[in-house]
Structures are given as C-alpha cells and as structure tokens.
C-alpha cells in the first residue's frame, strides 16, 4: 500500500535541479511524480520514480543526500468536491497532512494525490473504507 518517495536535499544553487535530474536520466530512471519544497536557503526535491532502489543508488553515488519515505497515493475522480471529501475524511479522524502534491490523468479521468501523513496505515484504512482508491506501489510505479 505504501509508495516509496525519494527525498533529496538541494542547496539553492542555479543549475542544481538540472544536475540532479541528469543523474536520474543517465541511470534511465523514469520520474512518475515530482515536487520541490523550497525555503530561502535550501530545497527538498521529492520524487516518485519507477525504480526507487536504483535511483537511490545512483543519487548516492553522485554524492547526494537521499532518503526514502513512505507516502500514500490516492486516486479520486477529477470532479469538483472529490478532493475536499477526502481531506474531510482525514480531518475527521485527526490526521494531519505533512505535505502533498497531485497530478491528473486524462486517460483515466482521475486525479492522483500523493500524501505524506504521520500514520499512513490509519489514513489508508479510513480512505479506502470510504471508497477512495489507494494505489499500490506497483500500480503507481508502472503508471
């Protein structure tokens, strides 16, 4: 149920994102989802890729600080109100969202949301028992 997200520490230096993603390109890694959290001094690049272990190895070899974090991916209908409904489910059981990012798929007509919460298991149970699709790692990496 859990999806492995790569988090990479990035100094705020021009060209750094290009350099880091070139490492992934050279290792033939396909990026599934990406987001950057930024502060004035540094950023955290968050990635979901098709081959997380290979990606971590390549990035570490390039001298980067990488960690793997478990996140959940939910698929919701791409219609007004679908996302707020999911957030309401989490809010009602007291789960805070640390961060999230999302993208939509024209093919399936769905929106996919990556969520980082403290208690993934509890979140997954609540969402799926309310009929919200939770993607497996294989489903997501192979998308």
């Amino acid at each position: 149920m859990q999806i492995q997200q790569l988090s990479i520490f990035v100094e705020n230096k021009s060209g750094r994102l290009a350099e880091i993603t070139e490492v992934l390109a050279a290792a033939r890694i396909d990026i599934r989802a990406i987001s950057v959290a930024d502060t004035s001094d540094f950023g955290i690049l968050r990635l979901i890729v098709n081959k997380p272990d290979e990606a971590v190895a390549a990035l570490k070899k390039a001298g980067l600080t990488v960690s793997l974090t478990n996140v959940i991916a939910m698929g919701i209908d791409d219609v007004p109100g679908a996302f707020s409904k999911a957030m309401r489910i989490l809010a009602d059981i007291g789960i805070d969202v640390e961060y999230m990012y999302a993208f939509i798929s024209r093919k399936s007509g769905k929106a996919y949301v990556i969520l980082r919460v403290k208690d993934s298991k509890k979140a997954v149970n609540a969402l799926s028992s309310n009929g919200i699709q939770i993607l497996t790692a294989e489903e997501f990496y192979g998308m």
Binding site: S7, D41, F42, S67
Partner: protein
C-alpha cells in the same frame, strides 16, 4: 606495562639521563645559534647574554623567544644555521595565515625527524610488518614525507598515496591490506563517509589503527572516526618549524601525547608575560629544537594552547606528555567584540550528535559583524520535511548562541560541499574588510 618502543633507551630513559642529554644538546645548540644565525647574535647581544651563560637545560629561561615573524622577516633562509652544502631538503608552511615560512633540514635533521616519526608509529602499535597508508599531502607540506620517512625508518612499508581520489584510496586499502592510516582527521572522516556511501564494510578491511594530526580535532571526532573506519585513532602533533609530524604522539594509553623531548624541548608559558607555567596549567607551547642543525629555533612560540604532564605513563615512556592543544592564541575570532574559537562551533555540533563538517563565514553588514555557520548535512540529519530541517537549523543556532553569546545564522549545505585542500578543511572565511 610492556609496550613497543622504537628507541627504548631514549624513550624510557630516566629523567636524570634526559636532563643530561638535553643540557648537553642545548649548550651546543646555543653556541651554534650565536655563531651562525645573525638574528640570534643580535638578540643575545641586546640582552647582554653570552652563549657561555647557558650551562644546562635549566638555563633555558634565560634565552630569548623566537616568533613566526622572525622566520617571515628573514624569508626564506635567514634563520638557517648551516651552509647550503649541508642542506638536503626544504619544506614550507601552507601560508594560510600569511606569508609562507620556509624550513630546512640537514641529513642529520632528516634522520632525527624520521626517528621521531618512527617512534610515533611504533607507539600507535605499528611494526615492521605493517603497511602504512599515508594520505597526507606530499610536497612542501611536511605531513606526507614526514610520516613516509618514519615508516621507512621503522622498516614498515610506506604506501605514499597522498591526498585525493578517495575511492582509489579505499580500493588500495582493500587490495594492499593497509594496516595503519595516516592523514588529517577531517580526511579520515571523509574517507569513512565515502566508504559508507560505497557500501564498503570497514570491518572487512585489515586497517586497525590511524595516526591523525596536522589540524585540531576533538575526542568526539575521534569516536566518530573510530566508528566510521572501525579502527583505533591516535593523535600526532607536529609543526614544520620544529620538524613536522612526529614532535609528539599518543601511546596506547591515549592519555596525552609523548613529546620527543630529547630532540624538541617543550615549555608552556603564559602568552602575556612569557613566564613558564607548571604542569597542568594551560598556556602557550614553546619548543627549543635541541636536536636540530639546519634550523635550530630557540624557544619557538607555537601559538598552540595546551598543558604538560611530567608524571610517569603506564606505557613505560618517560617523555613528558602534552595535552591535545585546546586552541591557538591566533585562531581566535572577535565577532561583535566577543572572542570565538572555531573549536567551540565544533563542540556544539558534536554535542548535538552531528558531524563537525562546518565552515564559518564572517561578514560586516551595516557596521555589524555577522556570523554564518554553514553545516554540511548528512543522511542521519536529513529529513523529508522542511519543518524538521528548519527545526534542526534553529536547534543548532540556539545551541551556538548559548555557547558563544553571538547570534549565528545557520545554513545547511549539501554533503562534501566545503572544500578540503591537502585534506585540511578551510574552517573560517572572514569577509570583513577592517
């Protein structure tokens, strides 16, 4: 306790015998200084001192001090006491704290230095059958060649790897079976971190000990190196003006560094008044090179702050021990009128369980000094949330402020982004134009 000694008759000599040796050498040295070094002749004459006034090592306090500026003022060879026919080598300081200083050696000096370095390697458990992996820089810097000659003098096998190409260093350790690593402590950390990143288990290596020096390091850093490399880490002390690495080093007891005092006579003085201090009191370390020919410095002010201990050591050596230097009289920074030592920043980071990979950037903005402490992040410190990282910055900043009494801005850097030259990390960048 039985230990390994390279020259037991000297290293374990009685204090009376040592006193005799030191006195004899000092008397000869003073005569030579007066005769061959104009700076000393002038100073003696000004003081009304004659070489004959020095009859034993107890008279050393009558002698004038020598300062780094004396070497600079007579740059490059003005303090040498031998004609160039007798010189066989020169080295030079890196010049990071001003104009470089040049030091010279006769054949006899090289031998003295090699013997001292061999004693140090032996004190750390090294033997003839060991491979000594030398990752100090080779060149004008004394580190590489100093240990190298010591290893050969001992009869061990020197592997002159020098610095850089860390992956290759690790490969050599694996393939050649290096037993003892010699380099700067910061480079030892770097090798350990690289080993971890490469997935090399340090326990799979033959490496069992390391002899580290040429820059300040702490007990916590020792533990970190011992953990990362799975070895025992020994401290070695030296400075080019006196010889190079091998002036003093730890024995297996690891309770202070034995000074090779039959060659380099130490004193600890009050840096303000110049008065000698008793054992246990901190002051400036001063050396007289009683065993040297080419550059026989009298009471050379090292600027290192430490204390001496003449009590007997369980290892059997009688040589006086010096504590690890606590700082330098000149690495003190004054930030907003407050004295700050880089070693304090290191202690703060270590007390927070962080690797001491840092750099200080000092600037002056609108007539106010600013201190930025840049800290390299590693995997143990990293988190995927901004909040955790910002909390960590704040924690470092608060700890620094309570220790230093200076506001410090903390900036997190990617690993290995602080440049290391010759394995020495540059710790301070002072951009103030004062």
């Amino acid at each position: 306790m039985q230990g390994n000694y390279f020259e037991p008759e000297l290293e374990c000599a009685s204090r009376e015998v040592l006193h005799y040796i030191q006195s004899k050498k000092l008397v000869k040295m003073v005569e030579r200084c007066y005769k061959h070094v104009p700076t000393y002749k002038k100073r003696f004459d000004e003081m009304g001192l004659l070489p004959g006034d020095i009859r034993s090592i107890d008279d050393i306090r009558k002698l004038p001090f020598t300062y780094k500026t004396d070497l600079r003022d007579t740059y490059p060879f003005g303090m040498f006491a031998v004609p160039k026919e007798e010189l066989v080598r020169v080295h030079a300081s890196s010049g990071t704290t001003g104009k470089q200083t040049v030091v010279g050696y006769t054949k006899g000096d090289i031998d003295v230095w090699a013997r001292c370095a061999a004693r140090c390697i032996t004190a750390a458990g090294g033997t003839k059958s060991d491979y000594i992996h030398i990752s100090y820089g080779y060149g004008l810097f004394t580190g590489g060649m100093g240990i190298h000659y010591g290893a050969e003098k001992l009869g061990a096998t020197a592997i002159p790897v020098s610095t850089g190409n860390t992956k290759r260093q690790i490969m050599i350790m694996q393939d050649f079976g290096s037993d003892i690593l010699c380099c700067t402590p910061s480079y030892a950390m770097y090798i350990g971190e690289t080993m971890r990143d490469m997935g090399v288990d340090p326990k799979s290596l033959k490496l069992r000990a390391g002899i580290f020096g040429a820059e300040p390091w702490t007990e916590n850093m020792r533990k970190e190196i011992e953990r990362l490399l799975s070895i025992k880490a020994y401290d070695i002390y030296g400075l080019s003006e006196i010889a190079g690495p091998g002036v003093a080093s730890e024995c297996v007891m690891q309770h202070g560094m034995h000074i090779n005092e039959d060659m380099f006579y130490p004193e600890v003085i009050d840096p303000e008044t110049g008065k000698p201090l008793p054992d246990g009191e901190y002051g400036e370390l001063v050396f007289t090179c009683i065993g040297k020919e080419a550059l026989p410095l009298l009471r050379y002010r090292t600027k290192d702050i430490c204390c001496l201990n003449h009590t007997a050591c369980e290892c059997g050596r009688t040589f006086v021990r010096m504590e690890k230097p606590r700082g330098r009289t000149d690495d003190m920074l004054i930030i907003r009128g407050i004295n700050v030592f880089p070693s304090q920043i290191e202690s703060v980071l270590l007390s927070l369980g962080m690797a001491p990979n840092y750099q200080l950037v000092i600037d002056r903005v609108n007539n106010l000094d600013t201190l930025e402490v840049q800290v390299e992040i590693n995997e143990d410190m990293f988190s995927d949330t901004v909040r955790d990282l910002e909390d960590m910055s704040r924690k470092i900043s608060n700890a620094l402020q309570s220790t230093l009494n200076v506001v410090a801005k903390v900036r997190l850097l990617e690993p290995k982004s602080i440049p290391r030259t010759d394995g020495k990390a540059k710790r301070v960048i002072d951009n103030r134009k004062v």
